[in-house]
Symmetry: C2
């Protein structure tokens, strides 16, 4: 998606440790006009898939998921990072490791909102090591819903998450795929 | 807002301890069509106020804030619950107490995204004791921005936050104001 790649080049900041800061438009300040264009692209890619639920994870996936859901005319469910032990039986849960925050958390989704009759699209802002996406895939699979795939805004293709999950058969559509950030220069695939 | 009150009566669940569960449409599963109607109402209320930034707090405020921001044609900034000590000088910060989770956290907003030239509207899903809203007001005041007011989806008017903050001069527009949930019956103001 050219508009997105241009925006990443213009406003993204490559920080030490392979960190790409896009907090001026994606995950702290949020440019909802850009999100509207991103939503149109996700809709174009998945419009034939009968999507009736969008699944994301708090916090920075929520804005993009909501605006994408407008295009599909369906609700969003966001997985919560559980602060307490989950209540057995009432929720689907999965373990997610955060490399940014250096911790492990449990994500939960109420069983009331995802069932075997649903066709689910996962939406998230970033894909790098793939831990959050793996957790969302696990939640979707536990529910028995059909999983159409995942729409990702920015994939760091030099980290292993995308390759690993595609090898497991997951359809992943990433709107910007970064090949390298060596020397602070962003190169797209 | 009649549509919202009807939805709360139909799908809201009054749980022990004065808890109103609206997780089927507001803060776990999110009905973005309803959010579109909420956004129109916030726009009607604040359209004359020259809003150029919407401020909210993660996680459940983000969806409503993003869809409201489409109506205003402006970006959203969401305050992050800091997991680390904040870096002095780079962020505005405030302390927020969560009665639901029984903990205290620091919220932060980068100084790059709010300045004295901004006209800010705060958006959040709930107002009860007012701790989150007080924190957002503090952040807005630290930035020197003009604060037009706060748009709240559901106010529990039997808890003290709304009265206390209005007494401090804050304009608060709540789309559904709950007077009482005694005996599990929801009564609006």
């Amino acid at each position: 998606m050219v508009l997105l790649e241009e925006r990443i080049c213009r406003d993204g900041i490559v920080a030490p440790g392979g960190v790409l800061k896009v907090d001026s438009f994606l995950n702290h300040q949020m440019d909802v006009a850009l999100f509207g264009e991103i939503a149109k692209e996700f809709y174009r890619l998945f419009r034939e898939d009968g999507i009736n639920k969008i699944l994301t994870i708090e916090a920075s996936g929520i804005g993009i998921a909501c605006i994408t859901a407008q295009a599909f005319g369906c609700p969003v469910i966001f997985a919560k990072k559980s602060k307490t032990k989950n209540i057995a039986g009432e929720v689907y849960s999965a373990t997610v490791e955060s490399f940014t925050h250096g911790n492990v958390s449990t994500i939960i989704v109420s069983k009331r909102f995802l069932t075997g009759g649903d066709r689910v699209l996962i939406i998230d802002d970033f894909l790098a090591n793939g831990s959050a996406l793996s957790g969302l895939v696990s939640v979707a699979r536990q529910s028995g819903a059909q999983l159409a795939g995942a729409g990702i805004v920015i994939e760091k293709a030099f980290q292993p998450g995308g390759e690993r999950l595609r090898a497991q058969g997951l359809r992943i559509e990433s709107l910007a795929k970064i090949k390298s950030m060596d020397g602070g220069t962003i190169q797209f695939c």
